[in-house]
Symmetry: C2
Subunit: 198 residues, 2 copies
């Protein structure tokens, strides 16, 4: 498994084995059963996490009690409430497991030690953050001008196989539509206009 | 003016005078007249920019020819199409001046030299990118569950004074509503429920 984190990180900067050894020594594994929280809104997010197996949802609950899904994080993806993590203020977001999930966590103090000791990790997480900015801009623009059909197809492309693992109402809450409308879109696209949907 | 960039950067990491001197030597100033482009969609974004004076809009034009405003960048803010900049693929976004604007640019090759020579800048731009992620998440969630009234008030809070500098249809294109609806919101809020609107 650690081999996979290694590859995840190595795409951003050259890190040698002894540096990886130190990085790995800072990680703690956490196992979550389905529906258990990794972060509860109102708590401070003191970690960043790397998903080894399973799937998490990152969400916000509005004043009417409706959940809005900001992101899914499955295998080989990182997860954090970056606003709470950076400011150490209470999190606006919650993070819960949609499946039994295994995640490697690094706490903020350890991460700062990592940056001090191996500055190349600054580069790694700068480039990761830049990728996150690009992905969020793309999502925001999609919400502004794409149809729900297009957003659904983009979700499938970005998260291959995920729609067979995650309840439909979670995907609807990610797309910003009601579950009934998602069912309608899926039925329409299964009708033949979108090859590959089964 | 360079004093202001210095303060902007110094909030993220300790950079000494000789390091700032090198950083400043990599910047090039560009003056744009109102309505002139800094980046045209389809070109590759090879720079990051710091706005000294004026205001830019970052936008995307959909297939029907409608512009959607992703962001405004005014004094003391950074601007880039990070997706195009990172990948060096053609930009999906355009950037144009809404006022006569003065911007300091650093090109990608110079930025890489900067990171090599002064690794503390990795930290600066990592923290900046993290702030951008937090701001975009906030905006995405606002688009998912806030009313247009709330989004308008949030825009005013985030961009004090900007609504008196920028055409109303640009603000409407940022809020994802039509200009007529924005006028209606403004009239309603001027009616007394939002002190300070004039």
């Amino acid at each position: 498994m650690l081999q996979r984190i290694k590859q995840n990180i190595a795409q951003y900067a050259a890190i040698d084995d002894s540096q990886f050894h130190y990085f790995f020594s800072l990680l703690k594994r956490k196992q979550l059963e389905k529906q258990r929280p990794l972060l509860v809104a109102g708590d401070v997010c003191s970690f960043e996490g790397y998903v080894e197996a399973g799937c998490l949802r990152v969400f916000c609950t509005d004043t009417a009690g409706t959940d809005h899904v900001l992101a899914f994080a499955s295998e080989d993806q990182w997860v954090v409430d970056i606003d709470s993590y950076s400011s150490q203020k209470p999190a606006q977001l919650g993070i819960t497991a949609l499946e039994n999930t295994s995640v490697w966590l690094i706490d903020k103090a350890s991460k700062e030690c990592l940056y001090q000791r191996i500055p190349a990790f600054e580069r790694v997480f700068r480039l990761m953050a830049q990728d996150a900015v690009a992905a969020l801009q793309q999502r925001l623009l999609a919400n502004m001008h794409q149809t729900a059909d297009q957003r659904y197809l983009e979700f499938r492309e970005l998260h291959p196989g995920l729609e067979n693992r995650v309840p439909q109402y979670e995907i609807a809450a990610y797309l910003g539509i009601c579950p009934e409308f998602l069912s309608k879109i899926r039925r329409k696209l299964m009708g033949g206009t979108a090859p590959g949907i089964s």
